[in-house]
């Protein structure tokens, strides 16, 4: 069984993003970029399934500019077998990403596609669910545990009231939550070796997918700032402030 993992190049989670002063977006020039943290978890889970003998091949896919090759190389350095970059220099909406992935699913015929539950840049949280719908597969979102056996996946999901376990028939789409696993680091020898592994670079136009934007971003702005507060000296002062000044007790 093949597994496709989708990986996105995003502003590193430690970077405090800055909104451009002209309101056209956030500053991404000269900013550290990394693999979306949830996608690292997706890669790790796919590798563990291969190491357990459940999967035979792990293919890392990214949709984005040429630099997204680095993100795919990171996945390969972690242990993925090969990569596919679907190259585009324009921003693609989650629906278009899902369509690209569904075209690759038709070509590669994986048994499982694992994606992060959301990307930490646009926080949309849509692609896995959309892909599952387009290919007619079940989806298990927010996975904190994944067991694959007998043509089925048993997935424990982090839901609002606690945990829910579902069983989905394969092929299926799974999206990862934080506690699914602890992703491994790529070692230096593996980073060197990753450079020689196969990475197909394909222009988005070649996939015959309608990737036109449906949404227009009119502006991007800073959120309202909270005013800095005060430090109080004692519990008594805190209780007094909460009662008399803030009126929340």
């Amino acid at each position: 069984m093949k597994i496709i993992v989708a990986v996105k190049r995003v502003v590193d989670f430690n970077v405090k993003v800055r909104v451009k002063s002209d309101g056209t977006g956030v500053e991404t020039a000269n900013v550290k970029m990394s693999m979306n943290p949830f996608d690292e978890i997706a890669v790790e889970e796919a590798l563990r399934l291969r190491e357990a003998g459940v999967a035979t091949e792990v293919i890392a896919v990214s949709i984005g500019p040429a630099q997204a090759q680095e993100t795919i190389r990171t996945a390969i350095a972690m242990g993925a077998d090969r990569g596919i970059l679907v190259r585009t220099d324009t921003a693609v909406e989650p629906l278009a990403v899902a369509k690209v992935l569904s075209a690759l699913v038709a070509e590669e015929q994986p048994g499982l596609v694992i994606l992060g539950k959301q990307a930490i840049d646009d926080d949309a949280g849509q692609v896995g669910q959309m892909l599952s719908a387009l290919v007619g597969w079940p989806v298990a979102t927010f996975a904190s545990k994944l067991v694959v056996a007998d043509g089925k996946a048993e997935v424990t999901r982090e839901v609002d009231g606690g945990l829910q376990t579902v069983e989905v028939k394969l092929p299926a789409v799974v999206t990862t939550d934080l506690r699914l696993n602890q992703p491994r680091y790529a070692t230096l020898p593996n980073i060197m070796k990753a450079k020689s592994k196969r990475l197909d670079d394909r222009p988005l136009a070649d996939l015959g997918v309608d990737a036109a934007a449906r949404l227009t971003v009119l502006k991007t702005e800073e959120p309202p700032r909270r005013k800095g507060g005060i430090k109080v000296g004692s519990v008594a002062e805190l209780v007094e402030k909460l009662r008399d000044e803030a009126g929340v007790l």
Partner: protein, 318 residues
């Protein structure tokens, strides 16, 4: 123009998230129908029918919808979709799973986590953990939205809309509910609570977390939250996590205890009306968003604070 709102409920009870998402749905300016899809969900449908401002409640009641799994629920929503120009769901675990599947099958680009409706086709939504706000205009005949409920007041009760039964679509039969571990608690629901008390890594253990956070929460009649670090360390269950990838809360009072204030955590609570931070490190970033900060050893401060507060029950009685 008509809007379909997918209700968040537990069959026996309607979640307040539905009433909050309704406020956003009504802001679209079109009549709103609420879909309650579940099993033996008559009580939730009755509760939905009492929300003011709606046209009717659609009740799809079938055993296949008991756990609101995405596959059967989406099939039911799609069977109804033709009559609607907007399909709206609260951004809950169910809503976040179902809405994008609906959107993809309708060939619509979804707008996630709407925090403000500016016009029927123009919305504000946070990106980068709330560090930037986008204004998005959709050029589509039909829209699919999820609503960040912390940004909307609940719609009021007092209505009496009719409840209409609709057929559940055939279950695609590709998914099955195996089991649920639902945290039973007498405390208020995290996303609806007026007061939230959250603990961080500084608590040091699950035992200490229970020992100092829970009495304060009970004293305040508060829901309990936690930072990602505390959840990862096993001090608190996953559904207590507040932050970019956990729950987004906007209570009147948020008390952050032993939480340093990573941007991902602040993303989940910065819309609280009043924030209190208690932390040993006076330079912790949490103090930059706190209205009131108290620097010191939380294990000394918390028992003193708990004792100094009037009990929630006494206050309610008085």
């Amino acid at each position: 123009m008509t809007t379909l709102l997918i209700a968040e409920h537990s069959n026996s009870k309607l979640s307040e998230q539905t009433a909050k998402a309704l406020t956003a749905a009504l802001a679209l300016g079109a009549p709103v129908d609420i879909l309650v899809a579940g099993h033996e969900a008559g009580a939730a449908a009755q509760a939905a029918s009492q929300l003011a401002g709606i046209r009717k409640v659609l009740l799809a009641d079938d055993v296949s919808l008991a756990h609101q799994l995405a596959e059967p629920l989406v099939a039911t929503v799609l069977a109804l979709a033709d009559g609607y120009d907007a399909i709206v769901a609260p951004a809950t675990a169910v809503g976040k799973t179902v809405a994008p599947r609906v959107a993809a099958l309708l060939d619509v680009s979804q707008v996630s986590e709407v925090i403000e409706v500016l016009a029927p086709d123009t919305f504000k939504r946070p990106i980068y953990a709330g560090n930037a706000i986008q204004t998005v205009k959709t050029g589509q005949a039909r829209n699919v939205l999820t609503i960040r409920t912390a940004s909307f007041r609940p719609a009021t009760a007092g209505g009496s809309a009719p409840v209409e039964t609709v057929a559940a679509a055939a279950d695609p039969g590709i998914s099955r509910h195996v089991g649920s571990q639902v945290s039973e608690s007498a405390r208020p629901e995290l996303t609806a609570a007026r007061v939230v008390v959250s603990g961080g890594r500084a608590l040091g253990s699950a035992e200490k977390f229970s020992e100092v956070i829970l009495p304060l929460a009970d004293r305040l009649g508060a829901a309990v939250g936690a930072s990602r670090a505390a959840v990862d360390a096993g001090y608190a269950p996953n559904d207590w996590q507040v932050g970019q990838t956990g729950k987004i809360v906007a209570p009147d009072l948020y008390v952050a205890i032993g939480i340093s204030g990573a941007i991902q955590h602040i993303a989940g609570m910065k819309d609280a009306r009043c924030i209190v931070a208690i932390n040993k490190d006076g330079d912790a970033p949490i103090f930059q968003v706190a209205d009131y900060g108290l620097v010191g050893d939380l294990f000394e401060i918390l028992p003193e604070l708990t004792a100094a507060l009037p009990a929630a029950s006494e206050k309610a009685a008085g």
